[in-house]
C-alpha cells in the first residue's frame, strides 16, 4: 500500500467534489432539508403533548442525524466508484499500480470529510432551530458514529460489488438500499414496536443497536455496553463478508473482461 496513491485518489475526489453540484447537495442541501423537515415534525409533536414531546423530539432528531451519517458513508463509497464508471475513466485507474484497498481507503477519507461537514450542519441546525443538542449523548456519540460508519462502508462495498457484477443498471441500489433497511433498524421508534420476527432480523443488523442505544442514553442516561459490543462484533462479520464479496465480484468482472466495458 502506497500513501502517494491514496493521496492521488483523495485529490481526484476533492477536484471532482469542488465542481459537482450533486456532491455539494449531498453534504449541504439534503442534511438541511432533512433536519428542517423532521424539526418541524417534532415541534408539532411537542405541541400535541408538551410532557412526552421533548423526549420524542430528541428521539426523532437524534435518530435522523445518526441515520444521515450511516447513509452518507454507505453512498459515498459506492458513488466514488460510480463517478469513475460514469466518466469511463476507471480503466485508467486500474491500469496503474493502484489497488482496491488504496481506492477504498481514499474514498473512506473523503467520506469522513463529508460526514464531518454533515454532522456539523445538522447538529448546528438542530441546536439553533429546535433546541436539540446531539452532544447530550456525550462520549457514547463516538462509538455510535464509529459503528454507523463501519456498517455504512460494509454496505457500500456490497453495493459496489453488485454494480461491478451487473453494471450501472444496478446503480439504483447505491441510492436505495439504505431505505430498504430503514423501517426495521429502529431509527425513529423502539425495536419493541416491530413484530417479533422482524425484531429478530433487526437484531442482526449492527445499526439497530446504535439507535436503541441512543434512545437508552437520551431516556435514562445509561449506555448499553453489551448491546454495543454485540453491534461491534456484527459489524466485523459484515465488514469481512462484504469485503470478500466485493473482491469476488471484482475478480469476476476481470475474468469476464467487463472492467473496461462498465458504463
Amino acid at each position: 500500500m502506497k500513501l502517494h496513491r491514496i493521496n492521488a485518489i483523495i485529490l481526484h475526489h476533492l477536484y471532482f467534489w469542488k465542481r459537482s453540484v450533486p456532491r455539494w447537495m449531498d453534504v449541504i442541501y439534503w442534511p438541511v432539508i432533512t433536519i428542517a423537515f423532521w424539526g418541524f415534525v417534532t415541534q408539532f409533536l411537542q405541541k400535541q403533548d408538551p410532557n412526552a414531546g421533548t423526549v420524542v423530539a430528541a428521539f426523532f432528531l437524534g435518530g435522523i442525524i445518526l441515520w444521515m451519517l450511516f447513509q452518507r458513508s454507505q453512498q459515498d463509497l459506492a458513488i466514488s466508484y460510480l463517478q469513475d464508471i460514469w466518466s469511463r475513466s476507471i480503466v485508467n485507474l486500474y491500469v496503474s499500480p493502484l489497488t482496491n484497498a488504496e481506492f477504498v481507503i481514499a474514498s473512506i477519507v473523503i467520506g469522513l470529510m463529508k460526514v464531518g461537514i454533515t454532522i456539523v450542519i445538522m447538529a448546528s441546525m438542530a441546536a439553533i432551530m429546535y433546541a436539540f443538542n446531539i452532544f447530550v449523548l456525550g462520549f457514547s456519540l463516538l462509538p455510535f458514529i464509529a459503528l454507523l460508519l463501519i456498517f455504512g462502508w460494509s454496505v457500500g462495498l456490497f453495493v459496489t460489488g453488485i454494480i461491478f457484477r451487473f453494471g450501472t443498471d444496478a446503480q439504483i441500489i447505491a441510492f436505495s438500499l439504505s431505505f430498504l433497511i430503514q423501517p426495521i433498524v429502529a431509527v425513529f421508534y423502539p425495536l419493541s414496536i416491530l413484530p417479533p420476527i422482524l425484531q429478530k432480523v433487526a437484531q442482526l443488523i449492527p445499526i439497530t443497536h446504535v439507535f436503541e442505544g441512543m434512545r437508552s442514553v437520551l431516556a435514562t442516561g445509561s449506555i448499553p455496553v453489551q448491546s454495543l459490543l454485540w453491534s461491534f462484533g456484527l459489524n466485523i462479520v459484515y465488514l469481512v463478508l462484504c469485503a470478500w464479496f466485493f473482491g469476488r465480484m471484482f475478480n469476476h468482472v476481470k475474468k469476464m473482461g467487463m472492467l473496461a466495458k462498465l458504463e
Binding site: K2, H4, R5, N7, A8, I9, L11, H12, Y15, F16, R19, S20, D84, S87, R88, S89, V91, N92, L93, Y94, V95, S96, P97, L98, T99, N251, K254, K255, M256, G257, L259, A260
Partner: protein, 301 residues
C-alpha cells in the same frame, strides 16, 4: 533481455475462444506492432497485459518478473493509452494529469507543463476534460502515458482520431522518446503505413492465433508480385502476344498496361519492351505494402 515474454496465453468468454495459446516477446527498445481484424484478440491481449482481464491460462513475464505476482511493481513501470479510454471529465487537463502523476509517484509537476508544451497542448491546460475534442483527448492521454517515464508503453490506436499533422508529430515524439530512453512499445493501429513507419516487428493476430510474426519488410515479401504500370506514347501493337509468349498477366486500357509480376522480372521485361521498339512514356511500380499483407492474411483466415 526481453522486456515482455508471453507464453501460451489463453482466454475464453463462455464458448468463444478469444485467445488460443499465443506466445510472443518484445526486446528492450523494440516497437512491436499488433495487427489483426476486429475481434482477432488484440484488445484482449493488451487488457490481459494490463491485468484488467484475467487469462484462463498462460504466463506473462514483464521486466523478468511474473506479472501477476508482482502487479504493482510491473504496472509502476508501464503505462497505457487508448483512443477508447477517457479522462476524468469534470476535472481540468492539469488536474487530471496531476492526479495521474501522483498515482505513479511523480513528484515533479513541472514535467506536466513540459509535456503539454511538447505536444502543443499547453493551451488545453485549464480546459475541462469533458470539453476536449477526440484529437485533443488523444494527445492528453499520450501525455498521461509518458508521465511516469514508463519502460514499457502499450498504445492502442494512439493516433486514430488525430489529424495527419498532429499524428505525424506524435509519431516523431514517440520515436524520439524511444531513441533517447530506449522505450519499449506495443503498438496497435489500423493505419498500416503508421505501423510500417513505427514498428520493428509486426504480429498478425487472427481468430485468437498469431498467424505471422516478422519485420514489416519481411512480411511484405509474402506477396511476391508487384504491380507495374506502363504508359505508352501510343497504343502498343501486338503487346498481348508479346506478353503471352512470356506468360505474364496483364490488362491493357487505352495506352496504359497494368502488369502483375515478380520484382526481379521487371527490369528484364522493360528491357525487352525497349528492344521490341515499344515507345514507353512513363512507368510506375507499386510495391506490396503491409495493407496488402493484412488483406491477404485476413481473407485467407
Amino acid at each position: 533481455m526481453n522486456v515482455l515474454e508471453v507464453a501460451n496465453l489463453e482466454k475464453s468468454y463462455k464458448q468463444f475462444k478469444a485467445l488460443k495459446g499465443i506466445s510472443f516477446d518484445i526486446g528492450r527498445g523494440e516497437i512491436l506492432g499488433f495487427l489483426g481484424p476486429n475481434g482477432a484478440g488484440k484488445t484482449t491481449t493488451i487488457q490481459i497485459l494490463l491485468q484488467i482481464i484475467t487469462p484462463d491460462s498462460g504466463s506473462i513475464n514483464i521486466f523478468g518478473m511474473d506479472a501477476f505476482k508482482n502487479r504493482e511493481q510491473v504496472l509502476q513501470k508501464m503505462n497505457f493509452t487508448s483512443a477508447y479510454v477517457h479522462l476524468f471529465g469534470a476535472l481540468s487537463v492539469w488536474e487530471n494529469l496531476k492526479v495521474f502523476a501522483k498515482l505513479y509517484g511523480v513528484k515533479n509537476y513541472n514535467k506536466i507543463d513540459k509535456l503539454l508544451k511538447e505536444f502543443e497542448a499547453a493551451d488545453l491546460r485549464d480546459k475541462k476534460a469533458v470539453t476536449l475534442s477526440s484529437g485533443q483527448l488523444t494527445r492528453i492521454m499520450v501525455i498521461k502515458a509518458l508521465l511516469n517515464d514508463p519502460e514499457l508503453l502499450l498504445l492502442d490506436e494512439p493516433t486514430s482520431s488525430l489529424d495527419p499533422d498532429i499524428a505525424g508529430k506524435m509519431r516523431e515524439i514517440l520515436k524520439e522518446v524511444r531513441r533517447t530512453r530506449n522505450l519499449t512499445m506495443l503498438y496497435t493501429s489500423h493505419n498500416m503505413a503508421e505501423i510500417e513507419e513505427m514498428c520493428d516487428r509486426v504480429i498478425f493476430l487472427s481468430h485468437g492465433k498469431i498467424v505471422a510474426n516478422d519485420s514489416p519488410q519481411k512480411l511484405t515479401q509474402i506477396i511476391p508480385d508487384h504491380l507495374l504500370r506502363v504508359q505508352f506514347k501510343e497504343t502498343p501493337k501486338n503487346i498481348k502476344e508479346f506478353l503471352k509468349e512470356r506468360r505474364i498477366k496483364s490488362e491493357l486500357k487505352d495506352n496504359t498496361l497494368d502488369i502483375t509480376t515478380a520484382d526481379e522480372a521487371i527490369p528484364v521485361l522493360l528491357q525487352e519492351m525497349y528492344n521490341a521498339n515499344y515507345k514507353i512514356k512513363d512507368i510506375h511500380i507499386d510495391e506490396p505494402d503491409l495493407e496488402d499483407v493484412f488483406l491477404k492474411i485476413a481473407r485467407e483466415q
